[in-house]
């Protein structure tokens, strides 16, 4: 059981900064996910914590003790790799027992601890088998067992489920989450799969090109992304973005798109326009599930659009809508019907929109119940 802290950690390989001045605190007993696209620096980050890489700058602490200069074998952290690395010539029992044998634990204690862990992971009936005789899921559990039996300070996992088929991945996700809840240990879990991060993490760190984008619990990251990258990485279909301009109009602010206008009287929004500057370009962000389609013009103010294409998925339907030059995706009910080029009307949940800076892509505004835009 231990917290993990990274202070100003940087790692460079030749011309690439793989990890760029990362500051991170992973709390004791947390299920912590590191999410990012391939090449973001997630594996490098993990290897720095384990000690397989040394940082060029900064400090790494485990349980409040600096380990930056300590050899990986003495950091007391267990790592589970994507390719598991089970010893092919050793039985399940011998694989799980291996770290204990290394530590010269007495034989009867090894017997007890290995059997306990094997029961916990439901591989106790496989103890005499070789890895080659096991299924993918069973091998997965043996690798986890080998880590658990060491009772390390923390568990690090690098995309451990990505080689499994969809059904097994689901079962293992559930099993891993249950295990962590029972063990109450610190888990650091690297993934590029946003569904995994959202469903498993107590908190998620979003990483891109070596730079930490946001660290928060899944709900906050989803509802209040810090920038357009974070907004896109969570949610399927991803958030829609529309180029708009923000203009002051007497006491209100107008958000103008090629085909529609939104208005807000809220003080917070007025503050977005710099003094002396009466207008600016922003990016409007709206999630597909926060937009509503109507076949007939609704009573409330709405935006006219056309159906571009319809994607029926069974449990729901994605409707691609053309608004001016843009095509955005909207999540509709499974029984939605229509044809391409058909005219429709759009309304949206006005407390769920976001505005991003046109240049930096940072979020400058999240709408809320108290502060929203209305269609004009």
């Amino acid at each position: 059981m231990a917290s993990i802290r990274l202070n100003n950690v940087t790692k460079t390989f030749k011309n690439t900064t793989a990890v760029n001045n990362v500051n991170l605190v992973i709390a004791d007993s947390e299920f912590f996910c590191i999410l990012g696209p391939p090449g973001a620096g997630k594996t490098t980050l993990l290897r720095l914590i384990v000690g397989l890489e040394n940082p060029d700058d900064g400090d790494i602490l485990i349980g409040e003790e600096s380990v930056t200069n300590i050899h990986p074998s003495k950091r007391d952290i267990a790592m589970i790799f994507q390719n598991l690395a089970l010893y092919p010539d050793k039985t399940v029992f011998e694989n799980i027992a291996f770290p204990l044998k290394q530590q010269e634990v007495p034989a009867d204690e090894i017997e007890k601890r290995v059997t306990d862990v094997a029961k916990q992971l439901k591989v106790d009936w496989l103890l005499e088998k070789l890895p080659s005789q096991l299924s993918g899921g069973e091998r997965q559990r043996v690798a986890i067992g080998r880590a658990i039996v060491r009772q390390p300070k923390a568990y690090l996992m690098d995309e451990p489920l990505s080689n499994l088929d969809a059904l097994l991945r689901l079962e293992m996700r559930v099993a891993l989450k249950e295990l962590q809840t029972n063990l109450k240990e610190t888990f650091v879990y690297v993934t590029h799969d946003q569904v995994e991060a959202l469903s498993m993490g107590d908190r998620i760190a979003v990483l891109n090109e070596g730079v930490l984008q946001q660290v928060d619990d899944p709900s906050t990251i989803y509802r209040s992304p810090n920038n357009m990258f974070v907004a896109t990485i969570l949610g399927n279909p991803p958030m829609n973005f529309l180029q708009c301009s923000l203009k002051r109009d007497n006491g209100s602010v107008m958000l103008e798109h090629q085909t529609f206008k939104l208005q807000s009287d809220n003080k917070e929004v007025l503050g977005l326009l710099n003094t002396g500057n009466d207008s600016g370009n922003v990016v409007l962000g709206l999630r597909p599930e926060d937009i509503n389609i109507h076949h007939a013009q609704p009573k409330e103010k709405s935006i006219q659009a056309q159906i571009y294409v319809i994607e029926p998925l069974g449990s729901e339907t994605i409707v691609d809508i053309k608004i001016g030059e843009n095509v955005i995706k909207v999540l509709a009910e499974s029984d939605f019907s229509g044809v391409s080029n058909q005219g429709v009307w759009i309304t949206f949940n006005s407390h769920k929109l976001h505005l991003f800076d046109n240049e930096s892509h940072k979020c400058v505004y999240h709408a809320s119940e108290k502060s929203k835009f209305e269609i004009v």
């Binding site: 469903s199 989803y222 729901e316």
Partner: protein, 371 residues
């Protein structure tokens, strides 16, 4: 006109039957997806349509003409494979123009066609770029443009989007559908991804172990799957199955302790008539399986324990063990603000009309309640 008829197609590799008497009728301008897990025979079927493989029995017909002996180059089909092999030593423009130059089209006409297809695929800004400098996503579009520009009457695509990242796959799916609607080519699309098949196709041919399971519209495949395999393969998260037996108006479900479901008065006669053997499988999709207390409307006395949940943003998927079988995982799709506690026991809440009834031994659908 470009319709395709497959009549009892067979293909063997040694002793293994890869395609087993496949008959399919693909109408002019239709977008048909051939969907199934790895090894089901979908690529082999595609290769017989294209002419890359010769059938061992049965015929491939285009517009009523038997094509079995016609070499691929003369069939008038356009291809798009997973590894699209863009010519890296040519510019994007020359890649797209390649097929037209071989057909000895005039330069002015070539220019018009290339620019038009580049506009459709939004790669006009890349035309002068050397293909070697393209990202994977852009290479995908160039490969597509190259196949499309020769305006084949029949378009064959084999998992063309699988190398793209999730964000671009979403965008390209909608673009592909729109383009096919505009150009009207008969399209056959092979995939293992049921989301792609559902969103793109007019009709889906579901295959498993070399045999056609069902050929129907996405709506019918989803709402009236022919058997357990099809019901399970389409839909995400996958459908929930309950084992049970039927007697005198009641289903006894073995995954629940004291799991009894009484059939409504309206449907009892029909169920009595149609259920022959005793052993059945009841199916219900996650979006129809809700959770609640025993006083809720449509609540059943079937109980399950929350073991995990996935807050996906637009909805929350809850995973549960039924109280009679901790080896089975049930999935319920709830609203995005639903926050269950791990270990909570919930009653399953659903309407009879959303149930599917399958025969356990044949695995076939007996009927869908409410249909």
């Amino acid at each position: 006109m470009a319709n395709i008829v497959l009549d009892k197609l067979v293909k063997r590799f040694g002793k293994q039957v890869a395609v087993n008497e496949l008959s399919l009728d693909i109408k002019d301008k239709e977008f048909v997806a051939i969907l199934g897990p790895s090894g089901c025979g979908k690529t082999t079927t595609m290769n017989m349509i294209s002419g890359l493989l010769k059938p061992d029995a049965g015929t491939v017909q285009f517009d009523g003409k038997i094509m079995n002996s016609m070499p691929p180059g003369k069939r008038g089909v356009g291809f798009m494979f997973q590894n699209y092999a863009v010519f890296t030593f040519l510019s994007v423009y020359d890649n797209i123009a390649f097929g037209l130059r071989i057909r000895k089209m005039g330069n002015d006409q070539i220019d018009k066609e290339v620019r038009e297809v580049a506009r459709l695929l939004q790669i006009r800004h890349l035309l002068s770029m050397p293909a070697s400098k393209l990202s994977i996503n852009d290479m995908q579009r160039v490969a597509l443009a190259r196949s499309m520009v020769v305006k084949p009457q029949i378009f064959l695509l084999d998992e063309p989007l699988s190398n793209l990242d999730a964000a671009l796959r979403n965008v390209m799916r909608a673009e592909l559908k729109r383009i096919q609607q505009e150009l009207g080519q008969t399209t056959v699309y092979v995939t293992h991804d049921q989301v792609e098949a559902m969103s793109l196709a007019n009709k889906i041919a579901v295959m498993n172990f070399a045999v056609l399971q069902q050929y129907d519209s996405p709506h019918n495949i989803y709402n009236r799957p022919k058997n357990l395999f099809v019901a399970n393969f389409i839909g995400s998260p996958t459908i929930n199955f309950f084992d049970g037996s039927y007697k005198g108006g009641t289903f006894s479900l073995s995954d629940f302790s004291n799991g009894k479901l009484t059939v409504s008065k309206e449907n009892k006669k029909m169920v009595d008539e149609k259920v022959k053997g005793e052993d059945v499988v009841l199916g219900i999709r996650p979006e129809h399986l809700k959770l609640g207390g025993d006083k809720d409307k449509n609540s059943t006395n079937l109980q399950a324990k929350v073991v995990s949940f996935e807050p996906l943003g637009s909805k929350t998927i809850v995973y549960l063990y039924p109280n009679g079988n901790p080896g089975l995982i049930l999935k319920s799709s709830m609203d995005s603000d639903y926050k269950p506690r791990i270990g909570d026991v919930k009653n399953l809440v659903f309407e009879e009309k959303n149930l599917y009834l399958f025969d356990k031994s044949s695995t076939n659908l007996i009927f869908r309640f409410g249909s």
